[in-house]
Amino acid sequence: MVFLAVPFTWLLLLAGCASPLLYLPSEDGEARCRQDDRLEVPEPPLRQLWRVDLGRPTMGAPVVAGPVILLSTTHPELVALERATGERLGALSYTGALASPPVHHGHQVMAPILGTEGRLQVLDRRSAQLVWESKGRFSALLVVSADTLLAAREDGTLLALRLQDGQQYWRADLQDRVWGGLAADATTVYAGTAHGKLWALDRHDGRKRWQADVESAVRTRPLLLDSLVYVGTGAGNLVAVHQSTGKPGWSTALGALPAPELVAGGEVIVAGAADRRLYAIEPADGRLRWRFETGGVIRGGAAVTPRTAYVGSSDGYLYAVDLNSGARVWSQRLDGPVLVPVTLTAGMLVAVSERGSVYAFTAE
């Protein structure tokens, strides 16, 4: 609590506001948000709505939490911007580096913090108060499933914690580190490990359902679609495994290391890769539908609308690609490389450059 009280006070003064920092509680703000939520995700061409300079690159994709956009910088701090205007609402500094970007659920913000011992910290973003924390060094992107927070530790264990108070539901020993992240549906939790194992565990008790060998490190968050689970691997492959049995589906070679997020849309799986290309893969058989070449490596994942895939590249451009044909339909140069995923929300596309500039675009 000492950690929270001191920086919190300091930040209040810095931000010059008396209201909680990572929250937009006004009636006006909520109303704007409800109005915005009725908007559709934007299709190109886009125009710039606002731009804010954070001065630091961010970890992971911007997170939209109602009327607020949350960004974790490498400072490390959690910055809140008003979604509609980009106005900086406030920031919260962490005392230790973050192992992976915080996740947001409801009013809670969960962050794995490194340090000598490490801990998982859950805050209420309205009050910036600590809700609960769990000791240990957590390695991978967290995931929330219903009332459960799933978190993987560096020692190779996977924890299911009650979101409300951190009480442990179950714990599973995966014997290997999870790098790419976790995914869960109503019954099963999926985790890919550094030595190329894909695990499926019962979501309720953590018991192993199956384990599949995908040959090299799982570098992406598992993507669940229909009856298959898809992961990108360190060997540069996109691998499909049957959700129910863990039996291999298909494997197709991307040109290089995949970006950490796979997305599905327009009846294809969209994956960026370090060979500068965005790939659209048929989910059923892994055939290549199209590929689109940018001018630099793609390290951040894409975001898709019903018709368009948006992706940033290290060449400093933001691209909009037609999901059917793979043709470029729009592009915009930012002030630096784009190495984190872009985020789509109602009426808005948010992207962050390595210079720390946050861009919001909307349909023209």
Binding site: T74, G156, A194, H195, G196, A217, S314, E354
Partner: protein
Amino acid sequence: MSVLLSILPAVQPAWPQFSRFGVNKVQFTEFTWQKLETPNFDLYFYVEEELLAGIAAEMAEAQYERLERLFGHSVERRIPLIVYSSHIYFEQTNIIPGILPEGVGGFMEFLKGRVALPLSGSLPEFERVLAHELIHVFTFDRIRQVLGRHGTSRIRIPPLWLTEGLAEYWAGPWDTEADMILRDAIFAQRLISIEHMHHIDGSYLMYKKGQSICAYMAETYGEDIFERLFTNWWRGDDFAAIFEAVTGDPLSKLDTNWQYAQRKRYLPDITRGDLPSHAARQLTTEGFNTKPAVLTGTDSTAFLYFRNTRGYTHIARTTLPDGETRVVDAGERSPAIESLHPMRSRLAIDAEGTRLAFAAKQRGRDRLFIQDLGTGETVHDLAFDSVIAITSPSWSPDGRRLAFSGADSGGKTDLYLYDLDTGTLRRLTHDLYHDHDLVWSPAGDHLVFVSDRCVHGRTGQYSLFLMELPGGRILQLTRGEHSDIHPAWSVDGRYIAFSSDRNGIHNIHALRLETAEDSGDLWRSEPERLTRVLTGAFAPAWLDNGQGLLYTGYENGSFQIFTAEVEPEALDRLAAVHSIPAAPDSAWLAGIVAPQPAYNRQDYERQLSLDIAQSQISQDPQLGTSGGIQLALSDILGNEHYYFVLAHVAGSQTGILDGLNVAMAHLQQGSRINRIWGLYRYNERLNSRYGRYVREKRTGGFLELEYPFSRHDRLEVRLSLRQARIDRELEGRRLDGWLVSNMISYTHDNSLWIPTGPLEGQRYSMGLAQTVDLRTSRRYNTTIFGDYRRYFRLSRRSALATRIMARRSHGDVPEYFALGGSWTLRGYPWLSIWGNKMILANTELRFPLVDQLAIRFPFGTMDFRALRGAMFVDAGNAWENEFGSWRGSVGAGVRLALGGAFVFRLDGARRTDFRSLGRETHWDFFFGWDF
């Protein structure tokens, strides 16, 4: 530091820079540079290598694309890439100041992130080196980006074994040479742990062990482990912490498992063969010995070879069976020969056994030397305008012609034939294939040579080829996905021995040649393996009787010469059953020299950019407070440098402006004559003979010209004009005036160094300087100086060093010289003996104490490279009118190499007048190399 070192000699009074030793980097060739702009590179080349530049551009872009995928990273800048068509030209580069040894295949430097490399004959090897250097570019750019995005200011440099090991691992496949190094290390019990890898930092062994560790890491943790390590580089203060954060394993676990895996991999090989020393008779033991050439036509068996036992490669002769060895040519000890190319070339003895031909580098190009083996005289010294680099001469059977491999200014390495009678040179091949290592057949109708003009040449493999003489038709003698090198005809011309790695280890093989009686066509047998060594056997040479051969074997980290018997039955079994087809016209070059994209090409324009900007502030109890900034700028090629110094010395009694020190200098080193000019305004305090400081204000300019005759000799001329205001109130006078100073000096330096200082060779400098008052024509002073140092090698690591130094200055305002302290006359206080005349003699016995010293502190272990001992006798004096008596000292000391010029020296000395010895021991300590 480099700024100060560069600029201060030019603005100091005359005497401190009288003895600037060091070898010269000579610009023997002036190039017309151009620039090619590709998507990711600014490629600099000279017009003679236009074809190579186009190929290099394509290779660089292809490698960039590949590395982008491996690193998941784009380099956010254009990469300057400087390409040289020959290693000889590459050695003249000014991009980095140091002398480039022949073993350096390329480099990436940090000031401007430049990559420079030469073509040394093989295009696949060129591409491998290019990839190696670009991996460094990506590694450091990725680390910079990651640390930058996490706001980490502390530099976390990866261990050298990792950077070089990864560069080797990703630049090309694991090959038999890497196997040889690792296998030998296992059997010689020299497999150093990761923890102690810094003990072999920079060695070839470190490169290959690093490559092996990286291969093991990829095998254990996945090929993307390196990308994960670099992405998480911010997560630890050192590599061990980063590695553990990423893998969850301590580095010690990797170390243990890697070593175990290597033993498991290589130890079973003991069943496949033996180490050379167990398989054959070893003829040399000390140092490095390679490429034997059998001396024919003599009563006893003798052979000549390259030998390096003390840092210089020379040509030696050993007679069998007694093993008597003597020097045939001093080689690199001689100022006339800068390199004998022992790894790339070979020696050639004519059929009569009377003449030796060898290639050597001298003054910016290779030459062919022909030496009379009876008298030791050089009877021919041949250089060719169109040939820059020469290797592997071979005599025609009649001794009237020499064939050799030569590289032209565009980088093409081809076969040449020189007629000694007519003095004509004929080029036998003309393309970018790497044709080399040729030997004339005893019948004189064929040349056998090594080339990559084969299907697998694109991946760096070599095969043997025959060239019919005089027609020039090329036949492919061997083929396959392996390397066949170092061919040697048997005396009767029926067999060719060569080294081949077709079984995974380089061993000596032989094949039989027969001419079909009906058609006259040549037929060959399958190769028969003659040796079964575990490490590597190279460069065979048939003995006169045809029943044995000499070869170079690799064992315990060095090359030695061995002799092995050859069973006649083994050769008799060989049946020439294969016809020898014509070589393909274009095996793979056509794909490489295909039309290139039309990149923007322009003449080189000098653009200066910042190299160093630094500031400093210091407090000295005697000199007071001083502070300043220094800037250094240079162009991409390093030919033009600007230096700026702005400093302020507190304590001036005339205000802040009066304490300003400003200097600038411009160095031009793109041509044979190095020019440096500069302007300065200095207000500083200098040592005086009164034990106190005098103040001198100087405003002026200077011009200095340096003309290097060779790597070892140069002439320097310097002219300066300055307004000097010298406060010498201690002398009872002030000296103001416009002073003109001239200086001329000659310097020679061929010393061989170890980390603490010179060990062998000699160096001397002598000159004359004069200073005149421009307005009054009054001669201030004339100074003559000389400094001679010679180092007598007593053993591999001990030497007797001697120095005689004398200076004399006379005139109205003579220069004063000081003795005393660690660098001059030990046992006497620092700069305590003054005079306008000075003489100094030193004799010092230098010997090793400890090679590696590791001291464990609570905060970590400090490793020191060399601890050396010294015993010395010094004598000297400085005087004005009367010499007085000699002052001397005797003593002993230790030196500890801390890295670079940081050599800690501690000497204890007792004074002597050479009749008695003082009872008090005076201690001197200082940081710097031995004289």
